[in-house]
Symmetry: C2
Subunit: 375 residues, 2 copies
């Protein structure tokens, strides 16, 4: 990257569609040399290269668009990220528009997080991933100012993190066997069901491994009685819980299922933000919290407290993301019963290094903020 | 205080009944000279001298017993306090017993707050004030290590604090007039009702001031229809809300009243801890959170988030306390709709200085931890 561009990046908010490289900036040399009129936000689109083709019902793709953000203040830099799988409606263009319209320089004290994030949230409806990219960068910044990682600031014990599940995409029997072999370090595997051949797929993976499984149905089942029958069968096959079995708007049917199910039923698509948590009481046994749908770490933290106070369990999940958003979510992992934080393991061009998976377990680092470094 | 006692205090947990003076200790000189095997807890009973005789239905008193705590780690000292009005069941003796039985030296990392406070909470049932004295000292310690006050760590804007109410004890008309004159800086006055002469007392204070009032009934009314009638009358007299009108176990009657009341109905005695907040939904419009009943800042913080997520309002209240527990509670004040933090203003021997009331408004200091200093 040329010097001119670097100088440009130092002084302006950047929005270049298709930019693939991360600017290697340090702003610490600016400390004390310029007045700090307020929080300085910069951002850049980045395309995550997937190691394997990602196939959904109607499409397949090899990249995931993200927006990488930075917030600077008093010589510290916080890193953030918005991950925007196309089917969720946000894009680098919408995020760029949202972030460009923000005026964070009006805030001279980064500690006024509640006020800053309320301003960001009220700037426009939706845009939850773009909002999360501000929330994460601000948390990283504040953690660095305080010299502590967020799992410590929140009072969590880093050793309490759960194992992360690792998703095995369905395929021919010998391909599945190979994928299961590659997933050797992971203690719990996730499979996506909800199609016509669910039992066949479970049989395929069971022919390759006896590890505990979890199942994500992505709203793919339609009949509650059949769902219950299937869940009983899945329990026999060593499945530990089932995510979003029925369409998200069918609250009564999920409540019916949760009451009778021998396995925990987790709400995912039905649970976006804090206001959805209380609606989940009596409907689900637990909720899947993802930074990209709930606007970030601050709201996720509140959701966990609310879910636990309501006797629900918590999964902390992710999209395809760099180590930035994954390390941010991992700060919350010691309070979660389950984790599904494999998003950074699925890409080949992660610009950061952060949280590690050691023997399948999320292993937090004692580094300030969200604990990442540019590679 | 003699040198021998000071040396004694440096090296042992202290528990001397009736001790009136605070040891003026600094432990910073110990840093590096001794290994730090874990959190070091010391504590000392202290009797708060009340400026005015405090009269309840069956008793009156001129002192309130408290226990002052310190937790040291790595050269930092955090201050805490348990305030124990006799009618709530705790005493310097019970707190001393509870604190003596704790083994905090097993914890070498003060940041594991969730784990430490869970251990403390599970050490014995009840003892909520004694538990709060640990919670507050630990928060003060951690805030000092991070170099920030807790209202900043929590992301609050310090300017958002409410006015504090100030309680006017009922008396002869000219004495009340004098008390109201002394309360000139306070924008909202609290009176305690629930006796046979409620209307007379309101008339007495209204003859002395036209300031907004709030009313604490302390479960003193018995009939919900009469309570509703009275609340309509109080609204005409410029009362802003009513605390705990009926006995705390009468949930249905409070729900009936809250549904019909023209003023917010606040639960106080009915709301002790986090687990009580959801029971309050639909029963009260708001809850009064006090550190001494909820075991401290950590649980209070969770209670506020839960109450707001449940569309209830929050009052942050207190007992008769030193500036230690008051400054701890004040860290939460920017998130509270109402505050009743006048406990330190009622005593003549406050060993600390901390949060200030400026023109009736709680004014937070930009000092690490809970922001107090020994006087």
């Amino acid at each position: 990257m040329g010097t001119n561009r670097r100088n440009f990046l130092k002084n302006t908010a950047l929005f270049t569609l298709g930019g693939l490289a991360l600017p290697q900036l340090t702003y610490s040399n600016m400390k004390g040399r310029f007045p700090t009129p307020g929080l300085k936000l910069t951002f850049e689109p980045y395309d995550l290269q997937l190691k394997h083709v990602f196939t959904l019902a109607n499409s397949s793709r090899t990249t995931t668009p993200v927006m990488l953000t930075k917030i600077e203040c008093d010589g510290f830099t916080g890193y953030g990220e918005a991950s925007m799988p196309p089917y969720l409606g946000e894009s680098q263009k919408t995020a760029g528009r949202f972030l460009t319209a923000l005026n964070l320089t009006q805030f001279t004290d980064p500690f006024r997080m509640e006020e800053i994030l309320e301003y960001v949230d009220e700037a426009a409806p939706g845009n939850t991933a773009a909002k999360a990219s501000i929330d994460i960068a601000l948390h990283d910044l504040l953690g660095k100012i305080m010299g502590q990682p967020w799992h410590k600031i929140w009072g969590y014990s880093p050793g309490n993190t759960p194992y992360t599940s690792f998703t095995i995409g369905m395929d021919e029997s010998d391909v599945v066997k190979q994928k299961v072999d590659e997933a050797a370090p992971y203690k719990i595997l996730k499979i996506k069901l909800g199609g016509p051949n669910d039992k066949e797929m479970v049989a395929t993976i069971r022919s390759a491994t006896s590890k505990p499984l979890c199942v994500d149905v992505n709203q793919g089942w339609d009949n509650k009685e059949k769902a219950l029958e299937m869940i009983h069968w899945l329990k026999e096959k060593g499945v530990e819980f089932v995510e979003q079995p029925l369409p998200k708007n069918r609250k009564d049917d999920h409540a019916w299922l949760t009451e009778r199910s021998p396995l925990p039923i987790i709400g995912d698509e039905a649970i976006q933000r804090l206001c959805d948590v209380q609606d989940a009481v009596g409907v689900y046994s637990g909720i899947n919290i993802k930074l990209m749908k709930c606007t970030g770490m601050r709201e996720a933290h509140k959701m966990i407290n609310l879910a636990h106070a309501s006797h629900m369990r918590v999964m902390i999940g992710c999209m395809t993301e760099t180590s930035c958003a994954i390390s941010a979510a991992a700060q919350l992992a010691p309070q979660a019963e389950w984790a599904d934080l494999d998003g950074n393991l699925l890409i080949s061009n992660d610009p950061y290094e952060g949280v590690k998976i050691v023997d399948g377990k999320i292993t937090l680092l004692d580094r300030p903020g969200i604990g990442i470094r540019e590679i």
